[in-house]
Amino acid sequence: MRPLLKILSVIACLTGIDAPVSAQLFESGRLLATTGVNQLEGAGGGGLVPWALITGYGTRDAIGGNVHGTYVWLPNFTLGSAGAAIGLYDRVELSYAHETFDTRTTGGKLGLGNGYAFNEDVVGLKLRVFGNVVYDQDSWMPQVAVGAQFKSTDNHAILHAIGAKSSKGVDMYLAATKLFLEESLLLDATVRLTKANQFGLLGFGGDRNGGYSFEFEGSAAYLISRQIAIGAEVRTKPDNLSFAKEGTAVDVFAAYFLTKNLSTTVAYVGLGDIARQKGQNGVYVSLQAGF
């Protein structure tokens, strides 16, 4: 811990951040569940949607972070995501996630070979612009953040063959998250500028549309208790590839915050058609550990 603190104190001095460099730097000072969870691409948010919240339990004087493992069982595919995210002074969030999209026996039918997997790495950056989701209860002002997700996949030749323009892409988003504490209700609206096909797993841009599209994402969560939130999400996606239709993703979820160090989310997700396979709806399970 000591060397780490020393390094951080040097960084703090260099960046001019007047933060107490001690054990206080890592104290989980925010309220339970007010951090959300890590979404599929690694950013703090819901399951599908990045929110304006900075990950981890660090206040504006502290650093928080967490790791996540998520698995989604679909009729023809499985989707896994593992990653880590760090929140700096409730202002900046850095995240990384590795996603694996396993085509199982459908890979054989698609001519890719059984068990063929698409992999994607996502590096995320988020900046809280203004607002505090908990404290701003006397106004309509949400917490607002901007973010970018730098995505790259490893399947260049196949992505090219299905019509994708690129195996790399950058998503940019603006997220507004509002907690209506009086109603025990949290709402998020996020707009994303993206070229990604199926979150980027099937590349970026396509033969139908090669450019960026504006997409809408939204989440609603109702707090049943301090530890449990239930809700639903929607995320529209581009439809860039002519070989396979792509639609809107939805989910209904329950998140259980056991402690500030451990939470789990279970959801039923509807991802619609993926790579010509209809009705890819299934169970989403995520485990998260952090501070």
Binding site: G29, R30, T59, D61, V134, Y135, D136, L181, E182, L223
Partner: protein, 139 residues
């Protein structure tokens, strides 16, 4: 069809009338008795908290109890008037951080649990207290 013609004005009336019939937060917190119990449990919980207990070392706890009771009653639309210092003045010089404010909120939450205040009612009180962070936290 006839049922709907009757039902519509009835529903409209209920929607308009409902806010007036709504009990105040003060009532939902159990009135004077409920708030006295909550303040007792809160003070116990604040003082026992190693994170913030020391903040109250120089506090006149008799006055603090009176002021906290009046404040809760006042903001919950009860029949009281809070005449104490503003939050900024009351916390001046304490150099409180967000983590201290949140620690107190957590203690208040557990005090509300002990006092038997339902979760949704707890959140209504917390929603009124949360904006005070801006005046309380100075560091």
């Amino acid at each position: 069809m006839a049922h709907w013609i009757i039902a519509f004005p009835a529903i409209a009336f209920l929607l308009v009338a409902a806010p007036e019939a709504k009990a105040t937060l003060y009532d939902d917190m159990g009135g004077k008795e409920g708030i006295d119990r909550l303040v007792d449990n809160s003070i116990k919980s604040f003082l026992a908290d190693p994170r913030i207990g020391k903040t109250f070392d120089d506090t006149n706890m008799v006055r603090f109890r009176t002021m906290l009771t009046a404040q809760f009653c006042h903001i919950a639309d009860g029949p009281c008037k809070y005449n104490g210092h503003s939050m900024a003045v009351a916390h001046r010089g304490l150099a409180l951080r967000q983590v201290d404010f949140n620690a107190l909120a957590e203690d208040l939450q557990s005090a509300m649990d002990v006092s038997g205040i339902p979760f949704r009612t707890q959140n209504r009180l917390l929603a009124l207290l949360a904006p005070m962070q801006r005046d309380v936290v100075t560091k």
